[in-house]
């Protein structure tokens, strides 16, 4: 026991070295990082929170709506070099453990983001459920993030990227992308981010109170098909906004492997979420040839069933949607029944879904539905499966969608 009496105080010696960890107020918490490409290298925009602005300092009271985040942009060859430089510039130590979003520019995404996945996988600081989104200019996007109804920037990102209601954003985070890419099971879609542009090219400071109208709103084409009829197929940055936060996340970036090959609008992303069971509810409008559209609130209790024939390279998809009837034309009260509505809506969903799949698989060459991953069950050993995957070409596959629509609730009024 004499040895213990010597060794235990020895083991406690580190307390004299003042190596007692980092105080929380000596750390700057990164909330997001943006990566752009320049001619000479990469431009990293590091966004970190200002806790005193968020929580109001050591006095009582909460924070104020204002600059709750700050950005610093550095040019560096790698992420860690950028963090090194930023760490030197910012007085506090940077911590990545609360970062919510990594935004990459389209240029970088075109070249491939597998290297980014490796960074995320190796680093024990970065959360595995961090989001990766694609935008035109990452630095500008982060500069324009000015949450108006949240005091906490992390909460803003979390609520935005994890929004499963409405759901015009794919629900894939870095971990999903990473596993899908390395497993070769599917090509993940990532959220698309953007900035709304000012309509009148007013270059004065668009802060706080000034409302803006988006110059790019007209670029988004309205759906002409029955599915979500009339709704514009927005990409991020195209919605009309009258609030000061110009940043938005809408639509998805399509990848083939780790390379960005195209983008989908909001309506298309909604369809993707239906096919991949990545939403909770959404409100959809259907044009059935009558004066007003049929509006349904859509739920999906079970994932769609996929019947895949690997020899014939065909897939049949059977999504099952439960709906609540929110509004309907007068004819549905008089002549038509909900059964008619179900049939019509189903045909619209099928058509729209098949168009989308055709666009993504044939034009973009992306396996967004994860057919490769779903084929795993049809092989007994991994070697056979890997051999098959090497010969998988998305454009050779044909798809048919047979959705089943059940209008379970018709609201407070009676329908047949």
């Amino acid at each position: 026991m004499n040895l213990i009496k010597l060794l235990l105080p020895l083991a406690m010696m580190p307390i004299l070295t003042s190596c007692i960890g980092d105080e929380p107020n000596n750390i700057a918490y990164m909330t997001a990082m943006g990566i752009d490409k320049t001619e000479s290298g990469y431009l990293y925009t590091i966004q970190f929170a200002q806790p005193t602005k968020i929580s109001g300092g050591s006095d009582e009271g909460g924070g104020s709506v204002g600059n709750i985040v700050d950005n610093i942009t550095v040019e560096a060859p790698t992420i860690y070099s950028a963090i090194n430089i930023a760490d030197t510039i910012i007085s506090k130590d940077l911590s990545l453990s609360h970062a919510k979003v990594l935004v990459v520019s389209e240029e970088i995404a075109h070249d491939g983001i597998a290297w980014l996945n490796d960074v995320i996988a190796r680093n024990n600081d970065i959360r595995p459920d961090i989001y990766i989104s694609v935008t035109e200019n990452a630095g500008e996007y982060l500069e324009e993030v000015k949450p108006s109804i949240e005091l906490n920037p992390v909460k803003y990102y979390q609520l935005t990227y994890e929004n499963k209601n409405g759901s015009a954003i794919p629900q894939n985070n870095a971990m999903d992308f990473y596993s899908s890419y390395f497993a070769g099971s599917r090509d993940c879609l990532l959220p698309l981010a953007g900035i709304a542009e000012n309509a009148d090219n007013d270059t004065t400071d668009n802060s706080e109170k000034k409302s803006i109208e988006n110059a790019r709103q007209a670029e988004a084409e309205p759906n002409t098909g029955g599915f979500d009829n009339g709704t514009r197929n927005y990409y991020a940055g195209e919605t009309g906004k009258r609030i000061r936060n110009k940043s938005e996340v809408l639509g998805s970036a399509v990848f083939s492997g780790d390379k960005y090959v195209g983008k989908l609008g909001s309506t298309e992303t909604e369809l993707h979420n239906i096919l991949m069971h990545q939403f909770t509810t959404m409100n959809l409008s259907f044009y059935t040839g009558l004066d007003s559209p049929l509006t349904l609130k859509v739920f999906e209790k079970t994932p769609p069933k996929y019947i895949i024939n690997k020899e014939e390279k065909t897939t049949e998809i059977y999504p099952e949607l439960q709906c609540e009837l929110l509004s309907a034309p007068e004819e549905y009260r008089r002549d038509r029944s909900t059964k008619d509505a179900e049939t019509e809506v189903a045909s619209m969903v099928n058509a729209a879904a098949e168009d989308l799949i055709c666009k993504v698989y044939k034009e973009m060459g992306s396996d967004m539905l994860g057919i490769r991953g779903r084929l795993r069950k049809q092989f007994l050993t991994l070697d056979e499966y890997m051999r098959y995957c090497q010969s998988f070409v998305p454009s050779e596959w044909s798809f048919s969608v047979r959705s089943q629509i059940n209008i379970r609730r018709t609201g407070m009024t009676y329908y047949k």
């Binding site: 406690m12 929380p24 929580s55 050591s58 924070g63």
Partner: protein, 536 residues
């Protein structure tokens, strides 16, 4: 080389401590030693007795010793000896003096007839040994010496002023008896006998302290308690060699296995019902004259966490209450350390919103977290300690001052952060949750160790300290039983449960580790009225 040898050497502890004869101190001068050339006995000559008593009790210097001469009607003379203030005067007047004066002149009674027939006192005994007579008189008895008899008579007429039976102050319970032990030994034994009305309840006495001669009683139920336990308890009690033993806490420190241990090893209770329950489980209870507490031996760690009200509530409430108490104790021990570890090393656990609050609130605080924590902890302890000594009229003022100092003012002056106040406050509340006062003290001490370790090694340090402390407790024994007992014993039928309460209907067996003579405490079906066609 010697240092190295000493570090790595190992000397197994001998099974019994070897006796070491070292130089003895010079004995003190004692008058009685002069007198006691040989053992003194009562003489048949009353004058000789009178002279001896005067010398021994230093009469008339010793002011409150009363020697009252009585002339019996049969011509004999007698005297009684007692301490004024320690006896009930009416008993002496009515039962002793009155009876003696009623003797007629023709009565020639023998010694035994004298006290059997003529002294109307319930407790009387003949005695010839002067030492015993002196001890008994010192303890409040009255001694009667009669001329012509070589026997004195001792009458138990004790009646000094004492506190009555009060409500328990530190072990309050909404349900159950509201009696507490008092300082009187006989009152305390009577309280126990009131609950356990069996002749098997044995009260073995012992005298502690060569000068104070404090009387103590070890109680146990003869047909339940393990003989070895009783023997060991008596051995330890009789083995106490000290001049003055004034309180039961002193006795506790002298009989436990490791007196320097952080955690208490015996339960001291002021509730007779708790002591009675311990007796029925097969434990021993020790009470000391002048102390309003009883020692229950043996006691384990989990018994110290139990409260008096556990016996009087239904199982779900008791379990919940124990869980809350345990959570409070864990908070009192670990919360500051966990907070420190989380904020210094493991910020990723903290939800982001909370982390910003903590970070912002600490922005203007000049001290590191550990200094802030120790500052607040010590301030809290200062206020707590001062509160014990504060006279009650201004006790509430202290609470206000303490709250102001610790709370608002410190935060406003940016000495500490608001969240630290919350942590310390919850820790303080948790320490009050601890049922046993000494266990609460133990946790307060250990908390400092945990704080230091957490500041250096974070969660890992806390985990290591938990392991070290648990293993150390696990290696202890108290009166031959392990100090910690299993926590989860599913479908247990024991009378005692560490955490989850056992329904009264299932408490069929005494704790196995007590190795009682009768392990079964109740039949398998204690609610016989439930069995069809079987009634009382």
């Amino acid at each position: 080389m010697n240092i190295v040898k000493k570090l790595f050497s190992y000397t197994p502890k001998p099974s019994s401590e070897p006796f070491v004869l070292s130089s003895q101190p010079k004995p003190e001068y004692d008058l009685r030693n002069e007198l006691r050339i040989e053992k003194a006995y009562v003489s048949s000559d009353i004058d000789e007795n009178r002279a001896y008593i005067r010398k021994r009790f230093r009469i008339p210097i010793n002011n409150d010793v009363i020697m009252r001469d009585i002339a019996l009607k049969n011509g004999k003379s007698a005297f009684i000896l007692f301490y004024d203030g320690m006896v009930i005067g009416e008993f002496i007047n009515d039962n002793i003096i009155q009876s003696l004066l009623e003797l007629t002149s023709s009565d020639t009674l023998t010694d035994s007839e004298l006290y059997k027939r003529l002294t109307a006192n319930s407790q009387a005994a003949p005695q010839q040994d002067m030492d015993i007579i002196a001890d008994e008189v010192n303890f409040g008895s009255c001694a009667l010496f009669v001329d012509g008899t070589d026997t004195a008579f001792l009458f138990d007429v004790r009646g000094w002023e004492h506190r009555g039976i009060d409500k328990p102050e530190n072990e309050q319970s909404i349900y159950g008896p509201q009696e507490a032990f008092s300082e009187m030994l006989r009152t305390n034994t009577a309280l126990l006998r009131k609950s356990i009305k069996t002749e098997g309840l044995i009260a073995r006495s012992c005298i502690l302290g060569s000068k104070s001669k404090t009387k103590g009683i070890l109680l146990y139920i003869d047909d339940i308690a393990n003989e070895k336990l009783i023997h060991e308890a008596m051995r330890r009690l009789n083995g106490i060699k000290a001049d003055y033993i004034m309180s039961i806490e002193q006795v506790q420190n002298l009989i436990v296995d490791k007196p320097m241990l952080f955690t208490p090893q015996l339960l001291a209770t002021e509730r007779p019902d708790r002591a009675a329950r311990a007796l029925t489980e097969g434990r021993c209870v020790f009470i000391l004259n002048g102390s309003p507490r009883a020692l229950i031996m043996p006691s384990g760690f989990f018994e110290l966490t139990h409260s008096a009200s556990d016996e009087y509530l239904a199982v779900p409430y008791v379990t919940m209450s124990r869980v809350i108490r345990l959570i409070g104790m864990v908070f009192s021990l670990l919360l500051p350390a966990i907070y420190l570890a989380m904020t210094l090393y493991h910020q990723e656990i903290i939800p982001t919103y909370l982390l910003y609050s903590i970070s912002a609130s600490r922005e203007n605080v000049p001290f590191p977290s550990i200094v802030e924590m120790l500052l607040m902890d010590i301030s809290f302890e200062l206020i707590r300690e001062a509160g014990l000594r504060m006279p009650s009229p201004i006790g509430s003022t202290l609470g206000i001052v303490g709250g102001l100092i610790l709370g608002q003012a410190a935060v406003s002056a940016k000495i500490v952060s608001p969240i630290m106040i919350i942590v310390i406050a919850i820790t303080g509340i948790g320490s009050f949750e601890t049922a046993d006062y000494t266990l609460g003290w133990a946790h307060r001490l250990l908390r400092l160790a945990f704080i230091l370790v957490a500041a250096v090694y974070g969660f890992f340090g806390i985990a290591a300290c938990i392991v070290l402390y648990s293993l150390y407790l696990g290696s202890l024994t108290t009166f031959g039983i392990p100090y910690v007992s299993p926590v989860f014993a599913f479908r247990s039928k024991s009378m005692v449960s560490p955490l989850v309460a056992i329904p009264t209907t299932r408490r069929e067996r005494r704790p196995g580790y007590l190795r009682t003579k009768r392990p079964d405490a109740a039949p398998p079906v204690s609610r016989r009225w439930q069995i069809k066609n079987k009634g009382e």
